[in-house]
Assembly symmetry: C2
Homo-oligomer: 377 residues x 2
């Protein structure tokens, strides 16, 4: 298995004053890697921040420098698309703790030798948002026209709207939730244990040698990938189809779904760092927005003037519609301006990344309405 | 981690003429380990065969010799219980491929040195049933009053009813399905990959040394365990409760659900063999009863006189009610005598092992009715 995550110089900005984290530890220096699309207008009013999901990154709408594949939101972000780069200035940065250029476990350790590795401090979704805020201010933007993201990206959107309401004109959390459920935590924990169990993990110090915990990380990806798809989607894609003609070939590849999962696992390890996976899954598990506000999610949005559009997918069992609905209810309770769209889809959680015309139309429509309210040309 | 699976002499019978398997390979010798409860009546008409689930075994209603815990169906099988051992003679055998005494990967290899290990031939649910049939005939029983089982046990029940209809007066497949779905296969495959990834697995030859792939098997158990519980059950049991008082303790135990899963994983490896886990999960993935009958499940039950009671649990997402319903529909299509009960429960797949009075009453009621039809005293 090819396991080297290539070192690439990503477009970035470094803040030498670092970042204070929620855990109380300060990062001495903060680098944020990012990509932008479209042009920022003269009054800096047309910026959209996109927040990526667990294993996404800043390469939203262009060829990925590691995989050579298209951007993860090529269907949504671009000229004339739902997030129209002819009209909006789109920013996406790699999350804090990530492995595509933003400060994380693969970064040089503060005031020490070598890399952070597993000693990288625990970060939270709120820390991720703090880092993004630095980048946004670096661009001279005092108010984002919109903050948009799916899955863990949606958690960041909610955190943005709660922490910096005056900086967010519109917020679109997609296929997301205001906290991680016991089941969400349980699946993440299986992935972490799988990494911990790989002897090549070497208690997190694998970066000192030439091996990475590829097998553990691949299994983590496999189990996560199952949760991204609905049972219907798996059945439609694979059913019980068998590779080759053998009927009982022992433990070799047999069912197509197995071969697909193995492929997902083995390609993932070429583009992702195991310690980043540990750090970021932990951040999602910590997430519980209401807790920050005394257990009342309405309090997180008290007095907000942000316009919200919550979107969920009917067959998403990782972040089911009910969780978006409860956020919508809290927003209603806070007298916020909120709309809520459940998209009928049998594709599961991953639907937000796939060709779902109803979703794309709803997103475009909401942004068009908000642009009118914001007085954007 | 204590990893030795103790060698115990289980009650058993050995058939020296072996068993021909579906894969075409023959086992030279077949040992079936079993337990019985209650007394077989004079005309051998009161026998109930219980088929255990993936990681169950023959210790249905007594202290388990390895774990020292109670039997896995202590709530269902016993004097005066739903499966009343004052009235019925209950048999349960360890499945073919298992690790509690029946021939499997831990058995001595045919005509060679050492154990089978991963060279144990692939077995199917139908092979498991063939082995059980030998045991039943050994007792002089020509017709079982009932065959009952949950989960993989339910698959065996369906196979019994299809393959040996005249030997099954009543059949109760619980929380089961007539085939493994792509999602079922996918979760099993994650578990297998986790075992394969453990260097202590040693390509299946770990039995030659003093290590077992405990970490890989533990992760396999963890992911499986999540699928046995509903999201509601996980939330009720654990929610987001944190162990201890730390708020962001890095990667140490944090959420109670994590600690619970780790415990599930680490205790499992003390009572189960990794190669058996591979063999038996494979058998469930192969299972597709309709395929044996030209793709038409009704044909599997053509002309049957067996009385069926299908039972499912509303919150079971591993073998959802819809799968039991489609079996019921096929049975109706075959003009079989069938009743179907969906038990309202928020406990998920594991509900068939738990304190579910509605389930216990329904089972007792069905058996009482069948006993009347069978003319049992």
């Amino acid at each position: 298995m090819d396991t080297a995550l290539p070192d690439i110089l990503h477009q970035h900005v470094t803040f030498d004053d670092g970042l204070m984290l929620e855990c109380g530890q300060a990062l001495g220096s903060l680098t944020v890697a990012y990509r932008t699309y479209g042009r920022l207008n003269a009054d800096c009013s047309n910026a959209i921040l996109i927040c990526h999901a667990l294993t996404g990154d800043q390469y939203v709408a262009e060829t990925h420098p590691v995989t050579g594949k298209g951007g993860w939101w090529d269907l949504v972000v671009g000229p004339g698309l739902s997030i129209d780069t002819d009209r909006f200035f789109v920013i996406c940065s790699n999350v804090l703790g990530g492995c595509m250029g933003t400060t994380g476990p693969r970064s040089p350790r503060d005031g020490g030798e070598g890399l952070w590795g597993t000693d990288f401090p625990p970060v939270t979704v709120k820390d991720m948002v703090s880092a993004q805020k630095r980048l946004v201010e670096h661009f001279g933007i005092s108010r984002l026209f919109a903050v948009i993201g799916g899955s863990m990206g949606g958690m960041q959107v909610l955190q943005w709207a709660a922490s910096y309401p005056d900086m967010v004109f519109a917020a679109v959390p997609i296929a997301s939730a205001a906290y991680h459920s016991a089941q969400n935590i349980a699946f993440n924990e299986v992935g972490r244990q799988s990494i911990f169990s790989d002897p090549d993990w070497q208690a997190g110090r694998y970066w000192q040698g030439d091996k990475v915990p590829a097998r553990g990380l691949a299994v983590a990806r496999m189990v996560a990938h199952i949760t991204y798809l609905s049972e219907e989607a798996l059945t439609r894609k694979f059913g019980r189809r068998v590779r080759g003609a053998q009927s009982l070939p022992g433990f070799a590849d047999m069912f197509e779904v197995e071969s697909y999962l193995r492929h997902q696992g083995s390609t993932f390890v070429r583009r992702f760092d195991a310690n980043s996976y540990l750090t970021i899954t932990r951040a999602t598990d910590y997430f519980d927005l209401a807790e920050e506000y005394g257990g009342d999610l309405r309090a997180a949005f008290k007095g907000t003037r942000t316009r919200f559009c919550l979107m969920s997918f009917s067959s998403d069992w990782l972040y089911p519609t009910a969780e978006s609905r409860s956020v919508a209810r809290a927003l209603n309770g806070a007298a916020a301006n909120v709309s809520f769209v459940e998209i009928a889809s049998d594709k599961g959680h991953d639907a937000f990344l796939l060709d779902e015309p109803d979703f794309h139309r709803a997103l475009a429509g909401f942004l068009a309405g908000c642009a009118e309210h914001a007085g954007l040309p």
